[in-house]
Amino acid sequence: MTIGRWLAPLLFVLALGAAAWRAPLVDAPAFVPPPAAKPSTLPAEFRAERLPAAAESAHAASLAQLADGRIAAAWFAGSREGAADVAIWFALLGKDGWSQPRAIANRQSTAGSTFSHVRKLGNPVLYVEGSWLHLWYVSVAIGGWAGSALNHSVSTDAGTNWSPARRLSTSPLANISTLARTPPLPLADGGLGLPVYHEFLAKHGEWLRLSPTGQVVDKVRMGHERASLQPAVVAFDERHALALLRDSGPGRGQIQVAGSDDGGQSWPAGPALPIPNSNSSVALLRLPSGRLLLASNGASGRSELQLWLSADQGKTWQASRTVESSPDGGAEFSYPALLLSRDGRIHLAYTWRRQGIKHAMFTEAWLDGDTP
């Protein structure tokens, strides 16, 4: 009888104990409830301007408000979508307007910090948590966007310096096909729930539960009747949340719906909204009044960016405003991102003709008004 005959099971027992000790112990998931609804007192107001150009082609903006009140924007830009020179760009809106954009991640920096080949970069997502400014963005080593992996970086000085990117483990097949587009929700345990999506072989939304230290501790597949992407999520209380998703076909579709009534532990599909969606990204925001604001391209496709309001937690929707439209066939006003700043104003950033990013700032009163 060899030593290995007994050494192997002994080592296994020790290893099993060590693995069990290390396995994360997490509370039952719960959302941080939003603040109580109260009517906005701000007068009707609307302003819009294009951000300074970073490169020939720009897409997929994300917004966040820093602790000092400034609005931060990140997007990807380069000679064209998917080109090797595409970088993640960052700008701040202060008292003097938007700052000149600055590249905060590119292929080289991402490859250098993840020790792996990177072919192209895409969708960034910003989120502020105290003095931390989170940045998630996707990178691809081979193939199209379905081969994306998710990277995470943090800045503690308002976006001046960023930690080396760290790749999240989200998929068993070469860690590919997890993309982010919309901001996370805070969870009651101090962690975050990050809406992501998968598009290799199947297309569906996913919910990544992150611990307060940023470790992935759970992943939940969102129910779907049709191929759906890019979930935009709002929470109503500790247990209930709504996700609206881009319809990825086939053919012309409608905004897809998933919901959770158990703090994000499950996301069954709901009936699609009666709002057309031609495979384009949507943004969702809970307003100070408690109503929901949806930004999306409507029946005209990406040549028209529209806003809808819901006063009953997303069950019914009323068209509110058309932010921008053009009869020009090549026009594209897409990939909206919404943010509620602490002064009660609503910020919208979107891709403007693929040439740049446009930012609009407005109030709830403007949404309800009938003046242009």
Binding site: A23, S171, P172
Partner: protein
């Protein structure tokens, strides 16, 4: 220094070196392994493998080290390879979107997975597969050390499945050729 990323890079370099030693190199085998591992790190092969395949599992890394040390083959035997292929087909299929259940998610809070490994370990011990049990134990230790956020990633990876596919495919072709030779002999 991102230790998890560094693990992925160095492990892919070793796996590449082990793959090179599968070639019929005769007495040059050890030198070729060293040269291939070094070249993988210096010539961008390891970052490319890391980018395309992600970090290798500890199972694959241990098989690679065993192969580099000349103690055993990187390639699994036919029956384990076939079993791995069948399991991987179901696992990757469901994890990538076929059906409502994502088994990969079980690896983030892997209590059920750890419990399921107990009868697997007992079966390996009963069948006197001490080496496989040692490999499984080291996989668990690597997870415990924080190298992997998901326990599945410590146990298996696509490159390991490709090697299993190679073994099964090779065996299938050899069997087919043997049958044809036998048929001609008649």
């Amino acid at each position: 220094m991102n230790l998890v990323a560094a693990y992925g890079l160095l492990a892919q370099a070793l796996v590449f070196g082990a793959l090179v030693t599968l070639l019929p190199l005769g007495p040059l085998r050890q030198r070729a392994a060293l040269a291939a591992t070094t070249a993988a790190l210096l010539a961008g092969i390891a970052p490319a493998l890391h980018g395309v395949f992600g970090a290798p599992s500890l199972t694959l890394l241990q098989l690679a080290i065993w192969q580099l040390a000349g103690r055993d083959s990187l390639l699994p035997d036919f029956r384990p390879a076939l079993g791995l292929l069948v399991f991987a087909g179901l696992f990757y299929g469901t994890a990538l979107g076929w059906g409502p259940v994502d088994p990969y998610a079980l690896g983030y809070q892997p209590w059920a997975l750890l419990a399921a490994l107990i009868p697997v370990a007992a079966a390996l011990w009963w069948r006197r597969q001490e080496m496989a049990l040692l490999i499984l134990s080291v996989d668990l230790l690597a997870y415990a050390a924080g190298l992997f956020a998901n326990l599945w990633d410590a146990l298996l990876d696509p490159l390991l499945v490709l090697l299993a596919l190679f073994v099964v495919g090779r065996q299938g072709i050899e069997t087919l050729l043997a049958r044809r030779r036998a048929a001609r002999a008649h």
